[in-house]
């Protein structure tokens, strides 16, 4: 899942470039910061409950 993409593993961060549209990269109105926070939260949740991914990924 995309949550496992660490933003830090991406060397150049094209969405930071001037003129870049954040929404081309981040869905749902996330920004780099809020996405990071969300991933951390998810990781913690998954760790605590042993739960994996939400529905959509599975349905495909």
């Amino acid at each position: 899942p995309a949550q496992d993409f660490s933003l830090d593993s991406i060397e150049e961060k094209p969405w930071r470039k001037p003129g870049a549209d954040l929404t081309d990269y981040f869905n749902y109105g996330f920004t780099e910061e809020t996405w990071r926070a969300y991933c951390d939260r998810q990781k913690r949740l998954r760790y605590e409950s042993g739960n994996t991914m939400p529905t959509i990924e599975r349905e495909r």
Binding site: P1, A2, Q3, F5, L7, I10, P14, W15, A20, D21, T23, D24, Y25, F26, N27, Y28, F30, W35, Y38, I56, E57, R60
Partner: protein
Amino acid sequence: PFLHIDPESKVRPCPWYDRGFCRHGPNCRHRHVRKVLCMNYVAGFCPDGTECKFIHAPFELPQVDELAKNARKAGIICHICGEAGHKSYQCPKNTDLMDTSDSNRRQEEVPE
């Protein structure tokens, strides 16, 4: 008697279908182009951005989405926050509009 659909208008892709669903189905005035969704973007983030070969589907309702896009194309720049895509009276940083609570203000921003 059959539904007359102007072939010209079928050239324009359907913004609702591009979101994922169009209630008009085969009778839609616009063209329904089958595409493949980017599952990274559905998850929330795709590192490929504009280079991605799958679709980063917008979920904003087309009219709102298009309004903003057209405004951006037309080079509309807000003189309050300096950002492109909206006018000052629609600006989230316009304190003149902030006499009510934040949530009320947000609803008022929605164009009819």
